[in-house]
Point group: C2
Chain length 421, copies 2
């Protein structure tokens, strides 16, 4: 390990130890203190608007060769700063997830057992150069009683540091430990590496960003990770679908926003209904500028569709492109999804309740939808108020990760002198 990486690892360890100590206090903080910290941080972000914008301009000036999309994600504006502050105030309004009694029962020997929600501890947040993620993530961690270490993309360090200063001032104003929100002070990539290896110091890593970032985090992390590497979502139009509903759902699932992880990337359509319906669906989407990659059976119905190449069904387009395959009923659709899917979100459109049940029960995906758009896979749409991400792993939490999913649990057992026979 070189000297720079050594130094980054030392910085991470110091940050994580301070975060862990703060986490113990934050875990017991009453709701009013946490909400006050969030509202004061919101105010501090507004007050510090000019300073945050100046930091952001310095970040932009230091990295002149960015793509337009990258630059857009990195750029802060007065409106975006206001939106961050509003986000903090919204999180303050959400119920406190900590201390909820999740279940309670009494044993025959009189012992009362309670399962109680508690914060996870220290969360490591690794994200791309999108500074507003720092405020969102810090707010959700704070409200759920978790300390957080923020590491944004190195192009955004000045912006993130300015936002962090506002979060710290909110914590101070509420008498909560400032160390509960930490930020990487170095652009060295070794800091991220140290975070991913920090088992025992960091309890959970949440990466936010593109597939490249998330995959790297998943592969390198020795700490548990909650994330999705991709959202290769399917909409399956079953033979008993209502055609008008199928048109409206597919249009929304594919094109409402093409860059979100819940956007449909592949249309599966039953052979029984495809000859009449597929040309209509294609026309709807094409009118909105959508392109297609179709299998041979779909091209037999719509010969003008471009042929899908090897790998197209495994591609998360995140764009106005739709893969299309004709299938033969629920089992055939499930087989396609099992082969190419990412266990994120899949929808079936059908009027046949039995087919819907067979489809939903046959999925391993985090979210299965009957007769609605895949774009509903979102913490806000689930009623969580806010989300820190979407998880497609098998452990702890799946689907949108909100305040409740940022908690773990513990047991309290209340006795009256019981001993075990």
């Amino acid at each position: 390990m070189n000297a720079l990486a050594d130094e980054a690892a030392r910085q991470l360890e110091a940050a994580a130890r301070a975060a862990r100590a703060a986490a113990a206090d934050l875990a017991r903080a009453p709701r009013p203190a946490k909400d006050l910290a969030l509202r004061e941080a919101a105010r501090a972000i507004c007050d510090a608007g000019p300073a945050i914008l100046a930091a952001n301009e310095a970040d932009l000036a230091a990295a002149p060769d960015l793509s337009a999309a990258f630059k857009d994600r990195l750029t802060l504006t007065p409106a975006r700063i206001e939106a961050m502050a509003r986000g903090l105030k919204e999180v303050a309004e959400l119920p406190d997830p900590v201390g909820r009694t999740l279940s309670e029962w009494t044993r025959p020997n009189g012992l009362v057992i309670r399962r109680i929600a508690q914060p996870i501890g220290v969360i490591g947040m690794v994200f791309e150069s999108r500074p507003n993620v720092a405020a969102d993530a810090a707010a959700l961690c704070l409200k759920s009683g978790n300390a957080v270490i923020l590491r944004g993309g190195r192009e955004s360090l000045r912006s993130v540091a300015a936002i962090h200063a506002a979060m710290a001032s909110g914590l101070r104003a509420a008498g909560l430990p400032e160390a509960a929100v930490q930020v990487a002070q170095t652009a060295d990539r070794g800091f991220v590496g140290a975070m991913l290896r920090a088992a025992g110091l960091i309890d959970l890593i949440i990466p936010r960003g593109g597939k490249g970032l998330v995959t790297r985090v998943m592969e390198e992390a020795r700490v548990p990770v909650l994330a999705h590497a991709e959202g290769l979502c399917h909409t399956y139009i079953h033979g008993a679908a209502d055609p008008a509903m199928a048109r409206s759902i597919l249009l929304n699932a594919k094109l409402r926003r093409t860059g979100v992880c819940g956007a449909t990337e592949t249309l599966l359509i039953d052979a029984a209904i495809a000859p009449g319906l597929l040309p209509v669906l294609v026309a709807d989407l094409r009118e909105k500028g959508c392109e297609f990659r179709a299998d041979d059976r779909a091209r037999a119905i719509c010969p003008d569709l471009p042929a899908a190449a090897e790998g197209d069904f495994a591609t998360e387009w995140l764009d106005s492109v739709l893969s299309v395959a004709v299938v033969d009923g629920v089992a055939s659709a499930l087989a396609h999804i099992r082969r190419y899917g990412s266990e994120h979100t899949e929808a079936i459109v059908t009027e046949d309740a039995e087919a819907a049940a067979e489809f939903l029960n046959g999925l391993a995906s985090a979210v299965g939808i009957w007769n609605a758009s895949t774009q509903f896979c979102d913490g806000g749409e689930f009623g969580f108020g806010a989300e820190i991400g979407i998880a497609t792993g098998r452990l702890h939490a799946r689907g949108p990760v909100g305040l409740e999913q940022l908690c773990t649990y513990r047991y309290h057992m209340i006795g009256s002198g019981q001993v075990r026979p």
Copy 2:
């Protein structure tokens, strides 16, 4: 990597791929089929009793230089075989954890969202040379709809293979995929290494055994692990404890069984009550053969107690030895536990409800107990029917891991044509 390890990795990959395919079927298996498989496996274990005993004798004969304790864990007897079969039948009686609706709500737009319990997938079970763990673990995985790959200590391979044959015949009899229960066919340690690296093939590793095994698994695994490396449990006798209750609880917590992870290893006692009570507690335990390692303040009260050495308070004795420290109230007890504990189980004995609440809320441990023995940290005592282990990590499950904890969840969203605005 040498050729042997390569071969072990290939074997693991083949086993894991077969297990994953079987897991998809097992996840949808109805309860009667799973219960039938368990009862038929129980019968097969009884029928194959002589073959299992012969395999076990061959294991014992092949490893003549074992310690008495090791040999005892490895040895099967007709009574132990019967107990294994009984265990399988008991798991068949437990409720099916799969498919439970964990929560359900309706959104303002009419979407109904259900959170539903589902199996995790493929579980890797790494255990020491205790063959009965194979039957217990396979039964719990099967009932919870998970496929399992069993890797027992290499001294027990023949015994585990014989037990596995009985499990396979139960699966066959119930029309369930035999591949749902896999067993390592090799004594090569590379097989365990391959299991621990099998991210994407194995969803969860559960190690069962001593601290050495569990720590190695935790350090090496790239797959999520559910386990506890040690149970350094504390019983804290608060100043307002009922002395008779304190005596009875401590005796049970320390000595009922000293080798279990829920056994108390350290007594913390308030300075206010120690002068009168500590000598009585020491006499109770000493009468039963318990030894002590005491701090200076305890030795000032009971001068004949041996002095605790550096590291004694961080030692899980798993024996008739008790570390003793005098503390000054709840905060002082919590500070000691935070410094030396393993976040497993801690108890407070007190008649003061406020002190109890302060103690329980201040713990990060998986289980906090008020006025009962730490030895209640057990799946059976929690009412789970059976447990595959105890977890002290922060994610997914904490405390006893039973059938419900062997499940994850997914969402079903039921619409009537909703699209996202």
